[in-house]
Amino acid sequence: MRSSATGLPSPRLSARDATAEAVAGIVQRPGRAVLTMLGTVLGVGAFVGVLGLTATGAGQISHQFTVLEDTTVTVEDNGPANNVAPPGTNPAIGFPADADAIADHINGVAAAGVWWPVFLPDGTSFTGSLALSASSSQTVNLLAASPGAVRAMGLSMVAGSPLSTYENDTTQHVALIDMSTAAALGISPARLPSHPAVFVNGIAYTVIGVYRSAQRVVTDESAILIPENTALADYGNPAPGIGNQDEAQMVVATRIGAAQAVARQIAAAELPSDPSRLVVTSPPNPQKLQSEVTGDLAGLFLILALISLLIGAVGIANTTLVAVLERTQEIGLRRAVGARPRHIAAQFLAESTALGTLGGLIGTCIGVGVVVIFAAAKDWTAILNPAYTLPAPLIGSVVGLLAGTYPALRAARTSPLAALRNA
């Protein structure tokens, strides 16, 4: 643009020149630039890292739900509508004798079976030998389980084998125990061939297997699993009714994605005469759980990230202001060689914005690096949403721009006369 009054082109600072001046201003004082950027680096790094870590963690949770929770259906025996059992006894369990086989016929079922916690009176003793009469100090749960239930529990065996149909059908006195119970009762898995036994109130059960861990039902508790029919013979029917903790249940392991379909069919298949007696629980919605976990964690850490960004902004504002005061002579000189106040403001704004952008870029790299290293260390899949990650350096730019506004305006207002005079 050409001025009508002077016939001269108006003073102008091109974007390219402004950028070059800003970069020169930053490069001249590298140490100070690094310190100035630190807050923005931390803020943006925290932002990217928090979002990445929560997404990665939630992805992992979701993954676990997919393979375990999402493939588990539970059916509980709520008892018959009219209790016809004699007083003092419990009605027959709601599941038919061939419940495992019926469930196996439903498409999508991997394994299924009936189990219940056997009700034992207080003072029940668990010992590894009749001679030693030392009862186990820890609480041990005695569980009745059908062979199908044992398969659905997904036991990792240390020694021996899981329950077989034969042992159940012939009411054998056998038991599966977990490693901590084995240790408490003094039973070594290596001694299994010598047929050790556990004694529950004096009734002997030969230990046929020791397991290390389970995917379902007995995931984190000490348990002795005995065949379903043996339990019925030794202890009678379990009490029905949800809430008394002892009711017979069916645990169904389904194939991935089949849980909902299995849940819809299983009650009618198992008990066509009274399907409403069986209460079916389908898996929790992993999406909902995931968003709850993400929301709680991310909310907290994002506040921390915002605080870091605020500190970063104050840092940039402070340093830019100091730079303006330090460089009054330079401002005066630039005004003398034709710069207008807006050019001075643009230069300092460009410097603070460039600092913020650089801080944002470095912070983003650090944040991404933290997420990737964390995920790699945990053997998880790193999840970084491009919608948050790619624009993250711009957060630094915005912080730099806002932080530089006041110092830039102050620089623009500096009188060239005063600036040149205070030499």
Partner: protein, 230 residues
């Protein structure tokens, strides 16, 4: 007669008080193209006020100032900035070089705001440094330059836009006598090449190089009529 470069008509500057200080009392002055003028006077006499008014760094409280025939009192900030950038070159006592920029970059700074293509800027800057006798030190940082060399960079910066007017404020104030003499020779050569130069100084030796000497005392301007003997 050629158009005067500078024409002051009753130009005055009073700093608002209280009490108000009349730093420059109403003055009439004409400086023609190619003139070499020394403004002398003791400290606080109003020399710097006059320089700032001539350099469009300050505005008068009275009167008018015509630069190249253009009444500057009617101009807005944009036009005054354009005139400063294109028509006026400044040489300061303190050099005012950016310490982290090379000699060449310091000269280029004077062309930053005047819409010249980058290639042309670079050629002009190298040419100006050559003319100032520093063509061999383009990439030197001011910290590695002597006082005399620094002031030559400042002069190259003042000349790079081929200004109508070169304003020098105590240009030898920070130089030893040998460098001061060399600098004055450079100014003489520039004047001989056609530049209009106004030097503010309290050094009679510097003033002796000028073809005209204007004395200023308590804000009052008076011209000595005898010719200079440069």
């Amino acid at each position: 007669m050629t158009t005067p470069v500078i024409e002051l008509r009753g130009l005055a500057r009073t700093y608002p008080g209280p009490p108000p200080v009349p730093a420059l009392r109403p003055a009439d002055l004409v400086i023609g193209e190619g003139d070499y003028v020394a403004v002398t006077g003791p400290s606080g006499s109003g020399k710097s006020t006059l320089l700032h008014l001539l350099g469009l760094l300050d505005s008068p409280t009275e009167g008018s100032y015509l630069l190249d025939g253009l009444d500057t009192s009617t101009l807005n900030d944009r036009d005054r900035s354009a005139l400063r950038g294109r028509r006026i070159g400044f040489v300061f006592q303190e050099f005012h070089l950016l310490p982290h920029r090379t000699a060449l970059e310091n000269v280029l700074l004077a062309e930053l705001y005047n819409q010249t293509p980058r290639g042309a800027r670079l050629r002009a800057a190298v040419g100006a440094l050559d003319a100032a006798g520093l063509g061999h030190r383009l990439d030197a940082l001011p910290t590695t330059l002597s006082g005399g060399e620094s002031q030559r960079v400042a002069i190259a910066r003042a000349l790079v836009n081929q200004p109508s007017l070169v304003l020098c404020d105590e240009p030898t104030g920070n130089l030893d006598s040998r460098n001061a003499a060399a600098l004055m020779e450079l100014l003489d050569r520039l004047n001989a090449a056609g530049f209009t130069i106004v030097v503010i100084t309290h050094d009679a030796g510097v003033a002796a190089h000028a073809s005209r000497t204007i004395a200023i005392s308590d804000g009052l301007i008076s011209e000595r009529t005898e010719a200079g003997h440069a």
